[in-house]
């Protein structure tokens, strides 16, 4: 960890802190709590400027060492330029928003939490050296943007805009991620610096073109380049400070950052030059032409932002031509475009930030952003007007503001590109400056329109809801700072050029410098009567003329109505609608809500997967030689079992079905006896008995078995699937019982159960000792099931409405007054008095004998429970409550606690959980006795099983 890491994570910390600050400082504007973060960061990055000019600052912290991912932060010139924009503009925006959101009392902390989340993520993007870390931060900026656009989430437009921006930028982000992985495949590293150092190896690689396109998809979607720009105008639903910060100054520039950062990797590819330059140029013209037509101030600024981002993108593309050159001199010549791009990026953040804040002020003070309503504000808001003019003139490219300088440099770059001796640019390359100039005319037009239509003209107070007035000083501070900066850059361009642009150039064009060398950039206002000057003069003249003509026509362009035409927005909407519709159709095709259908899928899959595996693989052998002989008893039991099972589906009577199922269970018990499994036989016997009681208890609540009036095809399908499953299982059973190639692990248990655990009943030893953990969790599952049953029986859903409760009463009317378990059978009652004690004693015997003879906690517990159930049947459920006032849920809990504590007790002896110990002791009267801790564990099981069983039976039995 280093200060750099701290710098990136401070915003996240504050963001989380703000969310929990609900109670704290109720009356204070949350903005004041957020403000220290950007101030600290801004000072921190300012302080590093001199150091970064010499050499980048790199700090690494290990994140996922097993994957070789380290959070390496690399503060070089390019990162610093962005970091200063993020923290500097962030500082002004937070300050501005404190006055802008003065009426949003309750949700302030949410706003600032998101804003700081974005700030941290954006810093992470521009500082990360590891591509995966960069990707992670990149997506967090998308999420923060989503949250901020949807800040007024109850508005439908906000939801729409937020979703749109999210879908498009995340789509691009995923593409970019794929591109990063391709880079990793080629180079074996995610570190940008290391990839750049191996750039010679990957230049001819077949994957470089896909990687390039995928990375550019990320950059173009994030930076709203044509045709992915459509999300940005809709993102204007966000509060204006957000638009100023994310959607003009910082987040949308992440794509530009990525292009600049990856230039050293891809610039040797001609495709990079073409896609970036042409993509940028198209976006520049398209955006500027759309901006002229807008009537909403923020929409105008949104399209102007798209256009300006295109301009910078285009410049970065033109600058990458340096990578196609062999000689350093010509490379440096073309690299000027990159200088222009970075410089304009800086200028744009400044003037566009100011303009957005002005628009926010106009909106805040007049209540409208509609250009058709606005006008004449120059007298009422003179300070705002001054700021707006500086911003607009800088945007239009008029001297003496910063925008003028970068526009001149832009013209120089597009003129220079004709000299690239490739693709016969010298002949048709003239198109590029011509298109650039046309776009600049539109840029001039919308800048002037913005100014004139808002502030010029006559003031008509009828048109405003509120009475407009000059903004408060708090709102004006931030845009004033930015406007002054725009002027200062124009007058003293050498300052940003030396301190910010030169180090940033080093990052974008590292190959052009020998170590220790610096770029030397001179930006001047006046170069003499060059082509650029004439171009500027012409664009002012033509632009002014067009604005005047436009005004005469009442600011309406023919064909500005965009109805019934193909638009990208329409394409987006239709695609989204279509995919939602299609996926819903597809899903409901097989997810139709019928559990039977789902079960059929499962069974079909089971049959197909297993039968093909058995047929395809040579694992399946039929070998009857090893089989045990069969005798008459066994055959009789099996026949009885089969007949009972077959009779269950045929029975139309509830009692008969239940009893037949019980019969199957008892036959299985018999088989367990024959197969020498005494523990299983005992368990199954008791469980079967308790189950039948339970079925009969629930019985009165279940409806009669109706003769199922279903189609024969329904039954046939079921029968077919059932037969298929049965056959597959038969073959599996045959397969597993033939040929035992794999040695059973049971030999260990057989050999060690007496030596290690001191028990002669291997099954019990496995349960309580070798696999004690399983048993403990099993008891937990039982406990959960019993509590679930208790809750289902006891808790009624009361808010179902009258209709159901009426139905309920009707349905149950027949049972009211009957007490189904008040037995009047004298023989049963008499016999039960004695038998119950015998059963209980026997169960206790089974429990204690369990370690060495058949029995144990499970069996003992079940049998004790069975005795109490017999009592309940003979004397009524309420009698149990009188005689044994025990809370069986508590009993379950105590049992579990004993089991867990026994397990934890082994910690005292520094042994693993559930290690048991035993010993033989000489006790008075009893003689030599074996005592094992496993018995205590088994006691826990015993108590829980009693608790669980009785909770279940008594909850159901007491049910009316």
């Amino acid at each position: 960890m280093s200060l750099l890491h701290v710098a990136v994570f401070i915003p996240f910390l504050f963001s989380a802190g703000l969310l929990v600050s609900r109670k704290f400082l109720e009356s204070m504007h949350r903005g004041w709590l957020a403000l220290p973060v950007p101030i600290l960061l801004f000072v921190f990055f300012l302080w590093h400027i001199p150091q970064v000019q010499e050499t980048p600052i790199i700090h690494a912290a290990s994140w996922i060492p097993s994957l070789g991912i380290t959070i390496t932060f690399n503060l070089d010139g390019l990162s610093l330029l962005f970091a200063l924009l993020i923290s500097g503009i962030g500082l002004l925006v937070v300050l501005y928003s404190i006055y802008y959101l003065d009426e949003e009392k309750k949700d302030q902390q949410r706003f600032y939490a998101y804003l700081l989340l974005f700030m941290g993520a954006m810093l992470g993007v521009v500082l990360s050296d590891n591509l995966l870390v960069l990707y992670a931060f990149w997506e967090i900026t998308s999420i923060a943007s989503f949250l901020l656009i949807a800040y007024w989430y109850e508005r439908e437009r906000s939801q729409y805009g937020a979703l749109k921006s999210m879908l498009i930028t995340v789509f691009g982000g995923l593409a970019m991620f794929a591109g990063f992985i391709l880079l990793y495949v080629m180079t074996g590293t995610f570190s940008i610096r290391e990839i750049i150092s191996q750039v010679d190896n990957i230049t001819g690689h077949s994957l470089i073109l896909p990687a390039l396109i995928l990375v550019l998809l990320g950059a173009f979607t994030k930076s709203a380049q044509f045709p992915f720009h459509i999300w940005l105008p809709d993102a204007m639903e966000a509060p204006t400070p957000v638009s100023a910060y994310l959607h003009s100054a910082t987040m949308v520039k992440a794509g530009l950052y990525l292009v600049a950062r990856c230039s050293p990797i891809f610039a040797m590819q001609a495709q990079w030059f073409w896609i970036v330059s042409i993509g940028g140029l198209i976006t520049l013209i398209y955006g500027s032409m759309k901006a002229v037509r807008q009537t909403d101030l923020k929409a105008l600024l949104a399209y102007s932002t798209i256009s300006q981002l295109g301009l910078i993108m285009c410049l970065l593309g033109l600058g990458s031509a340096a990578g196609l050159q062999t000689s350093t001199a010509t490379s440096l010549f073309f690299a000027q475009a990159t200088t222009a791009g970075l410089f304009h990026l800086f200028n744009h953040a400044v003037f566009k930030g100011a303009l957005f804040m002005v628009v926010g002020i106009v909106d805040h003070e007049t209540g409208t952003r509609d250009l058709r309503k606005l006008g004449g504000l120059i007298r009422i808001m003179p300070v705002t007007f001054t700021i707006a003019s500086i911003g607009a003139f800088s945007m239009a490219g008029l001297p003496p503001f910063g925008g003028f300088l970068s526009k001149e440099m832009f013209f120089t770059s597009v003129l220079n590109i004709r000299e690239l001796n490739m693709w016969s640019l010298e002949s048709w390359g003239i198109l590029i400056p011509v298109l650039a100039w046309i776009a600049s005319v539109f840029t001039f037009m919308y800048s002037i329109i913005l100014l004139v239509r808002t502030f010029g003209g006559k003031y008509d107070k009828e048109r405003y809801h509120n009475k407009p007035h000059e903004a408060s000083i708090g709102l004006l501070v931030s845009p004033t700072v930015l406007a002054s900066l725009a002027l200062a850059i124009g007058l003293f361009p050498a300052l940003p050029a030396t301190w910010l642009i030169e180090p940033a150039m080093t990052s974008v064009h590292p190959h052009l410098l020998t170590p220790g060398e610096h770029f030397h950039i001179h930006i001047r206002m006046w170069h003499g009567w060059t082509t650029e000057v004439w171009m500027t003069a012409a664009l002012i003249a033509i632009g002014a003329l067009l604005v005047i003509l436009y005004k005469k026509r009442g600011w309406v362009l023919s064909g500005s109505g965009e109805k019934a035409r193909f638009t990208l927005n329409r394409l987006y909407d239709k695609t989204l609608e279509g995919s939602e519709y299609a996926s819903e159709k597809l899903t409901s095709l097989y997810m139709n809500g019928s559990i039977r259908q789902y079960l059929i899928y499962i069974f079909m899959f089971f049959v197909i997967a297993l039968s093909t595996t058995m047929l395809a693989l040579p694992v399946f052998t039929l070998d009857f030689s090893d089989h045990a002989p069969i005798d008459g008893y066994e055959l009789a039991a099996i026949v009885a079992l089969g007949l009972a099972a077959l009779a269950v589906p045929l029975s139309q009577n509830r009692i008969a079905s239940i009893l037949l199922t019980g019969a199957v269970g008892y036959m299985v018990t018999l088989l367990f006896v024959l197969f020498r499994a005494p523990d299983l036989a005992l368990t199954q016997l008791i469980v079967e008995t308790v189950s039948v009681v339970l079925f009969l208890l629930c019985f009165k609540h279940l409806p009669k078995l109706k003769k199922e009036n279903v189609k024969i095809s329904f039954k046939m399908t079921n029968a077919l699937i059932a037969a298929a499953v049965g056959i597959v299982v038969t073959f599996i059973a045959l397969g597993v019982s033939s040929g035992h190639d794999i040695k059973s692990i049971s030999d260990y248990f057989i050999k060690e159960s007496y030596h290690l655990a001191g028990g002669k009943n291997m099954v019990n030893v496995i349960l309580v000792d070798f696999r004690g953990f399983d048993t403990m969790l099993e008891v937990v599952v039982l406990g959960i099931a019993s509590l679930g049953i208790y809750a289902l029986v006891k808790l009624r859903v009361e808010d179902r409405g009258d209709q159901t409760s009426k139905l309920d009463t009707n349905r149950l009317a027949g049972f009211v007054g009957k007490r189904p378990f008040n037995s009047n059978d004298v023989i049963l009652m008499t016999a039960a008095r004695i038998i119950i004690f015998i059963i209980v004693l026997f169960s206790i015997n089974l429990f204690f004998a369990g370690h060495n003879a058949p029995g144990g906690g499970f069996i003992g517990g079940l049998l004790t429970a069975a005795a109490i159930i017999l009592f309940a049947i003979a004397f009524g459920m309420d009698a149990v409550k009188r005689v044994l006032p025990v809370n069986y849920r508590t009993m379950t809990g105590i049992g579990l606690l004993i089991a867990v504590l026994t397990g934890a007790g082994s910690f005292l002896f520094k042994a693993p959980f559930l290690s048991h110990s035993f010993g033989h002791f000489q006790l008075p009267i009893l003689g030599e006795t074996e005592l094992a801790t496993a018995v205590i564990f088994d006691l826990g099981v015993y108590l829980s099983v009693i608790g669980v069983t009785l909770t279940i039976i008594l909850s159901v039995g007491r049910e009316r």
Partner: protein, 113 residues
């Protein structure tokens, strides 16, 4: 013996699946019970039947049946009891509240999409 047991297991599975695919909740629950029996017999079959004496250590014998499947089945029997009980109570509560035990009618409403 193993062959007969394999067929019995298959039969139990087939009947169980048939019951599970029917509409009535009670039949489905009985089906799951039968399915459990089938699984138990399958596990028993895996280890081989009637090899050696019951898994209780004594001095008379050196060969025992495999104790591990028995431990597994014992766990399963008890769990099955809990699950069946839960299922039963769920079924009759659903029947009381919704007035049907036909699973084809219990498809969930629009509100839980």
């Amino acid at each position: 013996m193993e062959l007969v047991m394999a067929i019995t297991t298959g039969l139990l599975f087939a009947v169980a699946v048939y019951l599970i695919l029917s509409r009535s909740v009670l039949r489905i629950i009985l089906g799951t019970s039968l399915l459990t029996h089938g699984v138990h017999l399958l596990i028993m079959n895996m280890a081989g039947l009637k090899r050696g004496s019951a898994p209780l250590i004594s001095e008379d014998t050196m060969s025992y049946t495999d104790p591990l499947p028995q431990a597994l089945i014992l766990t399963s029997i008890v769990i099955n009891f809990g699950v069946t009980a839960f299922f039963l109570v769920l079924a009759y509560r659903a029947n009381q509240t919704l007035g049907t035990d036909d699973l084809e009618k219990l498809r969930g409403g629009d509100e839980n999409e």
